[in-house]
């Protein structure tokens, strides 16, 4: 175990905004922007798993890419282990990159088809770790064992592996530089359900063994419930609810979270009889012209006039549960009830 305390904040993201130019048509005009991530703030504690959940287009992946500097943030800061990651340059950035690694969704397109498994895992070691190269072989051997691949598979190329095995190579590559924060972007959603379980178990085991911190992105709320300690729910680039696992799943407060949870089909008969479906009509609105006030107001089953007039701030309610909704009471009572 580390000498640092368990509760220390590893990642501190403040006021992060990512925007893309969204000029439609061929005529130059006033520049319009799409705010894919709009002024969000969150922290991750060392050793915990934070989930970003939400529907497609809600800004989950863009947030992760901006944190890793794979897309440019428009404003905001990302403090990784005490250093402003977005401001680092050259050698300092190289050293810091070793601390933050990425596992991608698609194990088919995220591995270089021209490199064998060993070379894929070796790449981050050679480019990010400065120390002498003699112990790289040993590190690679250990990684292959840790992710459940056999030593003789080192010489095989990506196309010779199954989807689950490829994701294991992706995990080994991410762990090669001994990172502290691993961003997992939908790491199991491209896999068959039986293989998903193997990867989910592997990620949890590695987290305990290596004291890893995960930023976990998923649209599968069952997997999130199983993997994550705290959850941030995103809707149209904003965090609308932020809470720990038990509190969020047992007592969702934002109407969107409640609707999202109620829409998940479940094999549990008790859950199906206990929870009623909260239907939200239509599709998310156009991201270039988001609705005035609360962005969910156009689909919210309980929205009032006030909701489309001013934007609700993300405010602490009971048990440190953060919610951005005008209608949630200070004691944390949701305006919609999912049981009944």
């Amino acid at each position: 175990m580390d000498t640092r305390t368990q509760n220390e904040i590893l990642l501190d993201v403040a006021n992060l905004t990512v925007r893309f130019p969204a000029n439609r048509g061929v005529f130059p005009g006033k520049k319009r922007w799409l705010n894919a991530v709009d002024n969000i703030t969150f922290t991750i504690k060392r050793g915990e798993t934070l989930a970003l959940v939400g529907e497609s287009g809600s800004g989950k992946t863009t947030t992760a890419l901006a944190v890793a500097r794979l897309v440019k943030a428009h404003t905001g800061s990302v403090i990784l282990d005490g250093k402003n990651f977005l401001a680092l340059k050259d050698e300092q950035l190289r050293v810091a990159r070793a601390k933050l690694q990425f596992i991608f969704q698609d194990p088919y397109s995220s591995l270089n088809p021209r490199l064998n498994a060993e070379a894929i895992v070796r790449e981050p070691l050679e480019s990010l770790i400065a120390d002498d190269k003699t112990n790289h072989d040993q590190v690679i051997d250990q990684l292959f064992e840790a992710v459940g691949l056999r030593p003789e598979q080192k010489k095989l190329f990506p196309h010779q592996f199954s989807g689950g095995q490829r994701q294991r190579i992706g995990i080994a590559r991410a762990l090669a530089t001994q990172p502290e924060l691993v961003i997992c972007d939908e790491p199991v959603s491209a896999l068959d359900v039986a293989v998903q379980a193997q990867i989910v178990n592997l990620l949890r085991r590695l987290q305990h063994q290596r004291n890893l911190t995960y930023l976990f992105i998923s649209h599968d709320l069952g997997v999130v419930q199983h993997m994550c300690d705290r959850i941030a729910v995103m809707y149209m680039g904003k965090i609308v609810e932020f809470a720990d696992r038990m509190s969020l799943f047992n007592n969702p407060q934002h109407p969107y979270t409640a609707a999202l949870l109620s829409a998940v089909p479940s094999v549990d008969r008790e859950r199906r009889s206990k929870f009623k479906r909260i239907l939200i009509p239509g599709d998310p609105p156009d991201a270039i012209n988001p609705p005035m006030g609360c962005r969910f107001s156009s689909r919210c089953p309980v929205a009032t006039i006030a909701c489309s007039e001013s934007e609700p701030p993300l405010k602490a309610r009971r048990d440190g549960h953060l919610v951005a909704c005008h209608l949630v009471s200070d004691s944390g009572e949701s305006p919609v009830s999912i049981t009944g």
């Binding site: 068959d192 039986a194 989910v200 993997m227 038990m246 609707a259 109620s262 094999v267 479906r277 239907l279």
Partner: protein, 328 residues
């Protein structure tokens, strides 16, 4: 009561580089009018092949129905000619696919695409067909259907496109709707909308639904009976509630337990997920006289490796193709 669709000893073969492979191997089941039946399994287990076989849409020259019968109201449609099959498709059986993006024609408006089906199958005139397609768009809850009928597929969201697919599929009020992973590409809140829509349409028109999915939650939510497929073979069949609470095949049990389902109450406890070791067998291994699941099964013994399991019928009407069905 006579079943609406009765499939008996169906065998579908594909010619591959590894030789001729039975991708559907001795499948029998019945579908009653107005019923929802679900096919479940991992990718490559034959769920979609079953659907294509019933629709007469197997890949030409590569796939064929080698033996068995598919009786639609007593008529064996494996013997039907091309013309008759075209009548059956659309009028009696229709299908919606996983990818609503790629199954619509990008250069025609959605109104034209629905109207085409009506003109082909019901000999409606141009004007009547257009009017009906607006009504159908309204029935699948496309807002402002009159104006939207003139939209092109790229102007719609994924959920709306799937609604259009459903409108096309239901245009001729078929008796059977085959839905092949219709919501896999959609978000959960949109998925819930589509399921509600299917349920309403089923109540309204009495359409029987064959729902192909890999998600046990979906099965639990909408189907009455289910068939679990593995490597081209049916491994379990029964009423959804019974199968989910007491699976009689180790593969079904594994499929249910390996997914972290949302429970009524989330507790502190998070046990490791049950893993089903290994992966689905390759096509070359299909058709052997053995239990194809044996290599991944912890109940397997020598017998499983040497003889294909016979179907074990339980009092509960559950059927399990496992030598150890009693001990699961």
């Amino acid at each position: 009561m006579n079943a609406l669709l009765k499939v008996e000893n169906l065998r579908i073969e594909l010619s591959t580089r590894a030789g001729v492979v039975p991708v559907i191997d001795n499948l029998s089941f019945e579908l009653n009018a107005g019923e929802t039946l679900s096919f479940v399994g991992e990718s490559g287990c034959g769920k979609s092949m079953t659907a294509l076989g019933i629709m007469g849409l197997l890949p030409e020259k590569i796939g064929r129905i080698a033996s068995g019968t598919i009786l639609l109201d007593g008529e064996d449609i494996t013997k039907a000619g091309k013309k008759r099959l075209r009548e059956i498709r659309g009028n009696d059986i229709s299908m919606i696919f996983q990818e609503p993006m790629t199954s619509l024609n990008p250069v025609f408006t959605i109104g034209e695409q629905i109207a085409e089906v009506l003109r082909q199958h019901q000999n409606l005139g141009k004007k009547e067909a257009w009017a009906s397609s607006v009504e159908l768009l309204d029935a699948v809850r496309i807002p402002d259907a009159r104006r939207r009928a003139s939209s092109y597929p790229h102007q719609l969201s994924g959920g709306q496109r799937q609604r259009v697919m459903i409108a096309i599929a239901l245009a001729c009020k078929p008796r059977i709707l085959i839905a092949d992973e219709p919501t896999t590409a959609l978000d959960v809140t949109i998925q819930a909308q589509i399921f509600d829509l299917l349920e309403e349409l089923r109540a309204q028109f009495g359409t029987a639904i064959i729902m192909i999915t890999h998600d046990m939650g979906v099965v639990a939510e909408i189907a009455e009976r289910m068939i679990v497929m593995y490597a081209g073979r049916m491994v379990e069949q029964g009423e959804v509630d019974l199968v989910l609470t007491r699976p009689r095949h180790p593969y079904t049990k594994g499929l249910i337990e390996c997914v972290p389902h949302l429970k009524a109450t989330v507790t502190e406890e998070r046990a490791e997920l049950t893993e089903v070791a290994g992966i689905v067998p390759s096509l070359a291994e299909f058709g052997q006289n053995a239990c194809l699941f044996a290599s991944r099964c912890n109940l397997a013994d020598q017998h499983c490796l040497q003889t294909r399991p016979v179907e074990h019928h339980f009092d509960s009407q559950q059927i399990s193709a496992c030598w150890h069905a009693e001990n699961v």
